[in-house]
């Protein structure tokens, strides 16, 4: 088969009706442009919204939950082993929320090569003292460097510096809403009371804003050492270990394994936050549907133009057949025409789609809740560009299929004698 010759004929036919060809190609370009821009924007937004929650969540979290003991004494009694028992109103015993043997656990996690990184944490409940009024809140003692590296802690600091938690002793970063309530500014000292009743003065070194008001109203951060001091605990005391894995999909398995291994509770990100996945996939699905609809409309345009071209070029088709081109060759000519409209229209679409994405990316987008975001988020993932060009080739191929078949069936005798 002489593809060069076929391509040459296809090109000549295309250029002969270049205006129509251009209109067809613009249809494809437009739909691919919108497809790229929409998917980029949609998934960018998805990433941002999911990131609000998911970026700050560990893949696996180790902790000690307060819950009733599953091993009640009756279960250990040998003589009642084959009996059923019902115990009503079981209460949780006073148990420590501390992770036992934390140093050994940290050693083991460090040695696990599935783990990307981890940070220890102390979670505690406190009261913020505002004159004669107390209101409850949470203080997390954190490893500032690790927290910034793995959970983007720095992104949410609206004033002050996160590292000052380490540099200034007895310091605190207040949630923005708490600071407003306490009328506290950077450099001020606030009073907090631990759940045990111990009071402590902490110097404000920064403000923190997550974008979720319910969190900003209660949550503050301090260093691990300060938290240990506040609770009157030794420096081995931690309540949580947050672990990020190399492969997030392994989280449920790893969590299960650690529960057995370390005798703590463990929670994986998939179990804790399944609803985010659902939201993202539905939004992405909508973008795909709109993009594909646009492409199908463009496909009908190509179908029409090819049909018209075949009626106009009956003579050419007849002469090609009379001089020895087979139906298959003619078929190939028209498929080539359709595919080249798809290819060039699609490539132009990728280019304009990229430009439009860059445009959207530069539109200012100031959300008070999201200090780190200044413009609309756009995702430039090359996978979408690949999908777009594949779709454009596929739909134009389908659009060309029937006209090309009709062209290949043209009977040259009827055309030549008909004159």
């Amino acid at each position: 088969m002489n593809y060069k010759l076929i391509a040459g004929i296809a090109r000549a036919l295309l250029l002969a009706r270049w205006r129509q060809t251009l209109v067809a190609a613009i249809g494809v370009t437009f739909s691919i442009t919108m497809f790229i821009a929409m998917l980029g924007f949609m998934t960018g937004l998805n990433k941002l919204l999911d990131g609000l929650i998911l970026n700050r969540l560990p893949h696996v979290r180790l902790f000690n939950d307060v819950e009733p003991n599953k091993n009640q004494p009756i279960n250990t009694a040998k003589e009642y082993k084959h009996f059923h028992n019902f115990i009503q109103s079981v209460k949780s015993a006073q148990s420590r929320s501390e992770i036992h043997n934390s140093a050994t656990i940290i050693q083991a996690i460090k040695a696990d090569n599935r783990v990307l990184g981890f940070v220890p944490k102390i979670k505690t409940q406190v009261f913020y003292n505002d004159g004669s009024i107390d209101f409850s809140g949470l203080i997390d003692g954190i490893d500032v460097a690790g927290e910034s590296k793995w959970y983007h802690f720095n992104d949410y600091i609206t004033a002050g510096r996160a590292t000052d938690l380490n540099n200034v002793s007895n310091s605190i970063i207040l949630g923005k809403a708490i600071a407003q309530k306490l009328l506290a500014d950077i450099g001020d000292v606030v009073q907090v009371t631990s759940s045990k009743g111990d009071r402590m003065s902490l110097k404000v070194v920064g403000f923190f804003q997550s974008g979720i008001l319910d969190i900003d109203k209660v949550q503050s951060y301090t260093s691990i050492a300060t938290a240990q001091k506040l609770l009157g605990k030794t420096n081995s005391y931690i309540t949580d270990i947050q672990i990020n894995l190399k492969d997030i999909t392994q989280a449920p398995a790893v969590a299960k394994e650690y529960v057995a291994l370390f005798d703590t509770d463990a929670e994986d990100i998939q179990t804790a936050n399944s609803q985010f996945e659902t939201g993202s996939s539905v939004r992405t699905l909508i973008s795909y549907v709109v993009g594909i609809t646009l492409l199908i409309v463009a496909g009908f345009g190509i179908y029409n133009i090819l049909n018209m071209m075949i009626y106009e070029k009956m003579d050419t088709i007849a002469i090609l057949k009379a001089t020895g081109f087979s139906g298959k060759d003619v078929n190939l000519v028209f498929i080539t025409i359709a595919l080249s409209i798809g290819l060039f229209g699609g490539l132009a679409g990728l280019f304009f789609g990229y430009l439009l994405s860059v445009g959207v990316d530069n539109i200012p987008f100031n959300m008070s809740g999201l200090p780190a975001v200044k413009t609309y988020p756009v995702n430039y993932n090359p996978v979408y560009y690949f999908i777009a060009i594949a779709f454009s080739l596929f739909t134009t191929y389908l659009a060309g299929l029937f006209p090309a078949r009709r062209a290949s069936k043209v009977d040259p005798v009827i055309i030549i004698r008909g004159k």
């Binding site: 002489n2 010759l5 050419t316 002469i319 057949k321 009379a322 001089t323 020895g324 139906g327």
Partner: protein, 226 residues
């Protein structure tokens, strides 16, 4: 009989719609290499229909057709296309050039399809033929810019490009004035004599037919004289 290039055995054809009409019956004849044959007859006597059967483009007929001692009856579309490309050259009443291409490209097209020669060789051969027909100066013009007589000469050049066994013409001078008709006839005569080229030309121009080697006369779908 070894130099027989085209043989028709008992060819018949009938249109079945709306009523059966027999348009060709018992057509039997053969053409030898180098013969210049004309088919004459009144309008509607079936001479064009016969030509399209002989050209392999029309496959709906009875009887047997042999080109180059090979039966055309049980061949598929692609095989027939290949035979048309390689062994048959066409000249129609209307020039049927492809307007999107230059004159040269039009002539080259069947040669490029054949792939017997490289693109350069095909171009060279096309130029030789255009020169022979005295239109090489127009080679790079678009086909639709030529006059009717020139277009017909380009069509002849195109028919010659693959050195076909036979050139078939359907009223090749039917649409031309007297002067151009004469030029086209002279060209046919010349290639017949000079290259020993076989020609089969359907015409109703008695003057044209009279100058050929052999006349096949048709009436009502039969050959009445050959």
């Amino acid at each position: 009989m070894n130099d027989t290039i085209l043989e028709a055995k008992n060819i018949g054809k009938s249109f079945r719609d709306p009523v059966t009409v027999q348009v060709l019956q018992n057509i039997t004849f053969s053409i030898r290499k180098g013969e210049f044959v004309s088919v004459v007859g009144k309008s509607g006597c079936g001479k064009s229909t016969l030509l399209y059967i002989l050209s392999t483009m029309d496959t709906d007929y009875e009887g047997e057709l042999l080109i180059d001692n090979e039966s055309m009856v049980r061949k598929n579309g692609a095989q027939l296309a290949k035979i048309r490309n390689e062994k048959i050259g066409f000249v129609f009443q209307f020039h049927y050039l492809i307007n999107e291409f230059t004159v040269l490209k039009n002539v080259m097209l069947p040669g490029l399809k054949l792939q017997k020669y490289s693109e350069q060789e095909v171009e060279e051969r096309a130029m030789q033929r255009l020169k022979k027909l005295g239109i090489d100066s127009q080679a790079n013009k678009k086909a639709n810019l030529l006059s009717g007589g020139e277009k017909q000469r380009v069509a002849i050049a195109r028919a010659l490009i693959n050195d076909p066994l036979i050139i078939m013409g359907d009223e090749p001078t039917g649409n031309l004035d007297k002067k151009n008709s004469e030029i086209v006839f002279e060209i046919f005569k010349e290639i017949s004599v000079e290259f020993n080229q076989s020609l089969l030309i359907v015409t109703h121009d008695q003057g044209f037919a009279a100058n050929t080697n052999r006349i096949i006369e048709m009436e009502d779908g039969r050959i009445i004289k050959q």
